[in-house]
Symmetry: C2
DNA sequence: GTTACTTTGTGCGTAGCTTCACAAAGGTAC
DNA sequence: GTACCTTTGTGAAGCTACGCACAAAGTAAC
């Protein structure tokens, strides 16, 4: 079953509705830019220097008209009759996404998930740098991970300020997530990636994106059930027609 | 900054566009049902037996009109002047999502992320059961995790069939993901939750949802950059007006 | 039974996203 | 320079989703 990417499904951003979009680039487009960037990097690795919207769209798994409209929001970077220069487009999308500068990321909660995140290579690859690891458990504090000692959450505010952390990843148990969010926001952080299964309450001006495993599974279960229902339904109809 | 949940951001589902929706329930609604379910469970734990759309909407972080419209797609389960019965609504949403039956889930790839997923309690809580763990690395095969031995991916097809696995979680490196997807689909699986940073190519009838850490970070970086730009812009304007 | 109050369910206007289809623009060959 | 080919960028139409605002429907009090 193929469906167009659905922007608000699992990774969600909340925003004051009045403030419609960012620099005129629709949210739906922004959400797809990372996808294009990854596809372009794949092409670049294979030594391809130019790509048509059609080919890039296939690589990214989207409709080519949508791709062209998305890219047109960044500017007119294609050449008619030819396509897009891969390297140039990589640069333009990176710049638009803010990946030409380094973002210091802190991970709060070094359980199984926090460890996985810290070790995730592609995550630190370009544009992002793990600048701090925090945990509330004294047994974990001091442990070294990706060349960095886990620090106690007591020092959260200080470290965030001193190391210029601008994005915080919350990988704590659900019960601790809101408190962590409150503290990092008070320390000046305005971008949070939340893995804890809770709805975070944050003031205007703070972006929260949520990644939620059980939500994803439940959505899959819904569709799976529907497929099963449909089959049962069809066979019942077949039987009815037999009778 | 608050914005309405954006369906296609990170957790994405692809579907054949022609087949518009499932049983008349819009995708956007389906994506929010797990959210409502979690909020309702929280209320139930606190002993609350009845809730108004307004209160539930606050708990779930959505607009109350949207909540009512979402619930109206399931049926007329509220009582005017009173609200919704918490337990009854939990049951109805669970049923709609297919959580009244148990789904056997297999996790492929027992690296850091796979371990985190296997250990994630809420994940297995209701409706889902980890039925198998696979890895291609002989050093990992045989290791016990959540009371279950990691098996070699050689046995993928057999195990999936024998244990009735219907949902597969792919937590392998990017390079292996497509191959794993091909094999489990050939074995009859039609629901995949993909954590590998690649666009999976799947036939019609197969649902893929994607969770992508770097995509989420990049979207946050975009907004973070915009906030920074805006501040610079304002101060520049202030200076210009001073001059 | 009647009145007043509360809360659901939904019609409707609006906004945003997607897709089609094509004109405009650049490249190539001669 | 001209004719032809390819591919972009976008106007316009259709579709989906959101949120207001209100009628319908239930409760509660007397």
């Amino acid at each position: 079953m193929h469906r167009p990417p659905v922007p608000w499904s699992s990774g969600q951003v909340t925003r004051r509705p009045s403030q419609a979009r960012d620099r005129g680039i629709p949210d739906a487009t922004v959400a797809r830019l990372p996808l294009y960037l990854r596809a372009l990097n794949g092409l670049a690795e294979r030594g391809i220097s130019t790509v048509s919207s059609e080919d890039l769209a296939v690589a990214a798994g989207v409709n080519s008209a949508k791709l062209r409209k998305d890219l047109s929001h960044l500017g007119s970077y294609g050449t008619r009759g030819v396509g897009y220069d891969v390297q140039y487009l990589i640069y333009q999308i990176s710049r638009e996404l803010g990946l030409t500068q380094d973002w210091a990321v802190a991970i709060v909660g070094v359980g199984n998930l926090g460890r996985a995140l810290a070790n995730y290579g592609g995550f630190v690859s370009r544009g992002f740098r793990v600048a701090a690891l925090f945990d509330a458990d004294p047994a974990v504090v001091g442990e070294r991970l990706v060349g960095m000692a886990v620090e106690h959450t007591d020092g959260l505010e200080n470290v965030i300020e001193n190391r210029g952390v601008s994005i915080v990843v919350i990988a704590t148990p659900a019960a601790a997530a809101q408190q962590v969010a409150d503290r990092v926001i008070a320390a000046g952080v305005t971008s949070i990636l939340n893995f804890a299964p809770v709805v975070l309450n944050v003031p205007d001006g703070v972006d929260v994106r949520k990644v939620d495993l059980s939500t994803e599974l439940q959505i899959l279960a819904f569709h799976e059930q529907r497929k099963a229902d449909r089959e049962t339904g069809s066979s019942m109809m077949a039987e009815a027609m037999d009778a």
